[in-house]
Amino acid sequence: MEGLIQLGIFVLLLFLGFVFGRRAESKHYKSIFAREEKLRNIVVTTERTPEAEFERHEFNLVSGNVVISVDYFKVVAAGLRSLVGGRIRSYESLLDRARREAILRMQEQANAMGADVVINTKFETCRISGNAGKGIGSMEVLAYGTALIPPQNR
């Protein structure tokens, strides 16, 4: 009986994780597509030094960070996957979303400063509290770069 209750709780958590995780994901992707379209003119590159045409631009640090949590369904799916190996697809979409969201936030910051390009973009990630206790993990994705602001926009 006790086992059945635990199984029930497990299945319920799995179901909730799947339904809400799936809904959050599709909503988030819609928002990502829309904002990427809107901020397409803030060019994000990885080149280290500004080109000649930006010589008179002001520069400033811009950054965007996101903290994401894994849902229960994804944890269990990844757990099963870890037994046999292969791509953990349930985590891939999560990290894809986090990375793009971090860039978007960085772009929004650059946009607010009046910049038209962000160079030397870099990413960093870290796990929050080392995911102690083997519980549901969360991680941070940080995108940062140098925003170049044209003199007339200052």
């Binding site: 635990q6 697809r89 549901i136």
Partner: protein, 304 residues
């Protein structure tokens, strides 16, 4: 050349557009099937290899705990504490010790009629517990609860229960069940040990223990056959042998009986089998042998 706009990157490169449920179900099905296959394999191995473990090893193992056997049922003791027995029925009282002695003498008589290896000795213990139950464990130890004594009306019924548990030991069922349980538990720990899903682990562990630590139907049937042969050897008939199991069947849905129902599956077909066999010997009406006087005096309410 400078970009005027961020390029539009096609979707589905970094993240797959597939529904994750499909992958999940596929994985779950595959892993469940292989775990079932492994458990079946382990069960078969335990069943065929565990009886090869020398009985003396079992005895040596349980010998380490001999002294503490009386208190081994701490879990069930909690329940029984609600209706604590009167002073002269406590496990240390002379009445209790005499009743246990009577049980041991009965089992000694029965064990003369069972075909067993030289070194196989049966140790019968009486435990103070209102739930009617009897079980056999490693090392030839048999436990009978005082609740069971209250439910049997004749020595034959008690002998049937005792002979049944002895047959389990003779066929090495306890060591099979425990080997199987331990191996499955080990497998579960190996498979699920290093991932964060504690829930799966406890669920699978619990169901595993529940189904694997009790004897299966075949074991019960085997023990019944053996027990009936012992009773026929000892008494020459099977009258009263089905008494306890018939009672079990009639009152099966009462809470007090669930414990023994869980550990003894398929009672219905077993009663039918015992009754069928009993008919072969019942040429005239035979009265079952009454219980030993020491057992009766233990069960009777105290005079004071």
């Amino acid at each position: 050349m400078r970009l005027r706009q961020n390029p539009k990157i096609p979707e589905g490169i970094n993240a797959s557009p597939d529904n994750p449920l499909k992958e999940f179900l596929l994985l779950l099905a595959g892993i469940t099937l292989s775990v079932i296959a492994l458990v079946t394999l382990i069960s078969l191995l335990a069943q065929s290899l565990a009886p090869l473990i020398p009985f003396s090893w079992e005895q040596r193992l349980t010998g380490l705990y001999e002294g503490s056997y009386g208190d081994s049922n701490t879990e069930t003791k909690d329940k029984s504490s609600e209706q604590s027995p009167p002073k002269d029925k406590l496990p240390d009282s002379p009445a209790f010790i005499n009743a246990e002695l009577a049980l041991q003498e009965l089992s000694a008589r029965l064990s003369n009629n069972i075909d067993r290896p030289e070194n196989m000795v049966f140790n019968v213990h009486l435990i103070e517990q209102p739930l009617p139950n009897a079980f056999a464990t490693l090392g030839g130890h048999i436990f009978v609860t005082t609740g069971l004594l209250r439910k049997v009306g004749s020595e034959n019924a008690l002998a049937m229960v005792l002979a049944h548990e002895m047959a389990h030991i003779k066929h090495r069922h306890p060591i099979q069940a425990i080997s199987r349980g331990a191996l499955v538990q080990f497998l579960m720990t190996l498979v699920l040990g290093n991932q964060g899903t504690a829930a799966i682990q406890s669920v699978l562990g619990q169901t595993g223990l529940l189904t694997l630590l009790s004897f299966n139907r075949d074991m019960e049937r085997e023990a019944d056959q053996e027990a009936m042969a012992v009773l026929v050897n000892n008494y020459g008939h099977l009258a009263g042998a089905d008494e306890f199991f018939s009672q079990l069947l009639e009152q099966g849905n009462q809470a007090a009986w669930t414990a023994i129902f869980q550990t003894h599956p398929g009672v219905e077909s077993r009663v039918v089998e015992i009754r069928k066999r009993a008919k072969d010997y019942a040429t005239q009406r035979i009265a079952p042998v009454p219980l030993d006087q020491r057992l009766i005096s233990y069960l009777q309410p105290s005079a004071e």
